[in-house]
Amino acid sequence: MADYSRHGGGGISWPSRARLALAISAGKLAGASGRLFRIGGGTSLPGMIARRIDPNVLRSVMAATTASKIVITGSNGKTTTARMTAAIADASGRRVSHNRTGSNLLQGVTSVVVNYADVFGRLDSDLLLFEIDEGTMPVAMPEIQPDVVVVTNIFRDQLDRYGELYSVAKALDKLLERLPETATIVLNGNDPQVASFGQQARARKLYFGLRTTDIGRPVPEHAADVIRCIRCNEDLVYEVAYLSHLGLYRCPNCGYELPPLDVAATSIQLDPRGDGPTQVTMQTPLGQVELTLPLPGVHNVYNAAAAIAASIAAGFGIEKVPAALSNIRTAFGRLEKIQAGDQTIYLAFVKNPTSFNLVLRLIAQHPGEKHLLLVASNTVVDGEDFAWLWDVDLEEISPQVADVICSGTKAEELAMRLKYAEVPLDRVRVVHEREAALNAALQNAGPGGTLYIMASYTPTQELRRIMQKRGWVKPYWEE
């Protein structure tokens, strides 16, 4: 028994241990058969099966491991931030276990454990990295007991799942208060709401963000969510707004303002054509870092800042950061560039006004007319309430639109939204079936042409599966 105590299983009774072993084995088997038959990467199924057999599977393995545990949550940027953190940890010689496919509900998180642990629940990792959906945090946090929690940002996201923005934020803040003083909370200082988190927390706080006037706009865009003071409700004054409500803000009434940033991007050069690379100077408590990110857009500067702050919190240092981040690739569906024969596809997973607007602004900088495929569905992960589409600034791209195919259960709403953005009706067509829609859109793009796909989560996976069959992409679980 003593040999288990270091790795796992210590103090667990034999019946419990047998149950744990059965849960992990069954989960592993489910994942393996899923991959074998190519029906899916087994990203949430192993965890689901394992939890059915032993509801304590995640808690047991977490309680026994000595690895450090980083949790990354927030509305946008979780997957890429987690990938960047993993790359830095990896380059720093850490063995990392990570739910890298972005399956971030409780089952997906449990799948990490099932996939990486042996049947005794022992993990051979130095670092466990979990990307966790903000709505799953209340159940996941007590089971994981993390050392570092990163909150990337809070945007309106799936109102029909989590109620209003503030209740999500309040619940998250409460969870952070319960962390012990040995833990670290990594917060986006540019987000007025996230920056206000953890005021009552015992844990150490690290703030990341941007502090530059190289980029940004004087006032937040329409879809911005939090532009009033967290303390007194007065309208915030922005020196500069980088993305939605993220920026350099101050309350003219009570003086609430962004906290001093520990990790700050102080100089940013974006690619004017809306592609990579992005040059960033990052100030950190351990010194200055010069980065060349192969990814486009201000959102990836945030992801890098968050990842660097998480790495500092977990004690990796910053020496390996530039090298680790110079090779980073987009996560699947994050404006992923795909070669499809002689055609090029940009695949963007869009899930709320902020991510959709970001993608629109980036591709609006690409030269030429645009061939689009827009797909929105209504599964449990995509949400039922699609009102947010009207907060998407399709007007910004409508003059460049050559043609659009709309697909998914919300295809008609998409087509109507385009009409009210003054895209001529004869350029818009509804094709419900997914593969037919992709074919029609590629035909629109023509030989050697470029197709831009913007899709919610489920259709992104469906489209990627079709492209995988055609040999254009690797399965997302092998990415």
Partner: protein, 279 residues
């Protein structure tokens, strides 16, 4: 564009957009887009004033006022600010200005809103109704049947997301009868409220784009206030009708569910990559 811009009719619709940033949680600016574009496509100009907190314009100058939804925190700010605007808003309502009030905006046109937790908020009392917070939220697709002299029986489709239960007094008529969804309080089978040209509803989605008949009714009544009866030339609404039909099918498919997302079948959770379910 199938709907070619017509000649300049020299008509101007004056719109007051109340709290365009504060009260905009469910992308209800789509209602403004619907009104503006459907006017533009007919050669009718629109003049839009955005009205923020601390501003007290004369609301009787507007033919149409939009007042949309917000989360509880925003609603508190609006409720407090609204008292200074109350008298002029009531004058506008009495002088036949058209109001479209959605969700929290709808609630605040009533007498009061008592949240499930927290202090009661005072409304402006234009609509004879009061609202109490419930312990559960109605979050699902909704369809209601309305009847107006201009257009006879028509269906409104949208999405509702509210915990408030609204009860009408004798001075307000319901906007419609619930076909699927929950409406004002989930009990009496009615949705929304009407008084003169003041329309309150829980429907968002946003409500106007995929209910073009309702948009046109609001535009026609708003123009009539200033110009007398105006005939609105018909537009090609095939795109809107398709969206209307799709939303109606969803509402009927989810009939009886309190939360559409919770009613989504387990199959979708197990395998989120499966082909979208056909309804």
């Amino acid at each position: 564009m199938a709907n070619e811009q017509g000649k300049d009719t020299r008509l101007v619709l004056r719109i007051g957009h109340l709290y365009p940033q504060l009260m905009s949680v469910a992308a209800d600016r789509g209602n403004l887009f619907a009104i503006v574009k459907r006017c533009k496509w007919r050669g009718i100009k629109t003049a839009i004033d955005q009205i923020f907190v601390k501003q007290t314009p004369d609301f009787t100058q507007y033919d149409l006022i939009l007042f949309h939804g917000g989360a509880d925190r925003e609603m508190e700010v609006a409720a407090q600010d609204l008292q200074a605007k109350g008298r002029s808003l009531r004058e506008a309502a009495e002088s036949n200005t058209v109001f479209l009030a959605v969700c929290a905006g709808y609630q605040l046109l009533g007498h009061s809103y008592k949240p499930f937790e927290g202090p009661e908020l005072k409304g402006v009392g234009i609509l004879d109704l009061h609202t109490e917070g419930g312990s559960t939220r109605f979050m699902t697709h909704i369809a209601i049947e309305c009847e107006f002299p201009e257009c006879g029986k028509q269906v409104l489709v949208g999405y509702e997301n509210h915990s408030g239960r609204t009860y009408l007094g004798p001075g307000a008529q319901p906007l419609g009868r619930v076909l699927a969804g929950w409406g004002n309080n989930g009990k009496d089978g009615y949705e929304g409220a009407v008084y003169k040209n003041v329309f309150g509803t829980y429907l968002h989605g946003p409500v106007l784009p995929k209910n073009p008949w309702f948009t046109d009714l609001l535009i026609a009544r708003a123009l009539a206030r200033r110009y007398g009866q105006v005939e609105l030339p018909p537009l090609d609404d095939s795109t809107e009708q398709a969206a209307h039909t799709a939303a109606f099918k969803l509402a009927m498919a989810f009939k009886g569910t309190v939360s559409a997302i919770d009613a989504t079948p387990w199959r979708e959770r197990l395998s989120p990559g499966s082909t979208s379910r056909s309804l």
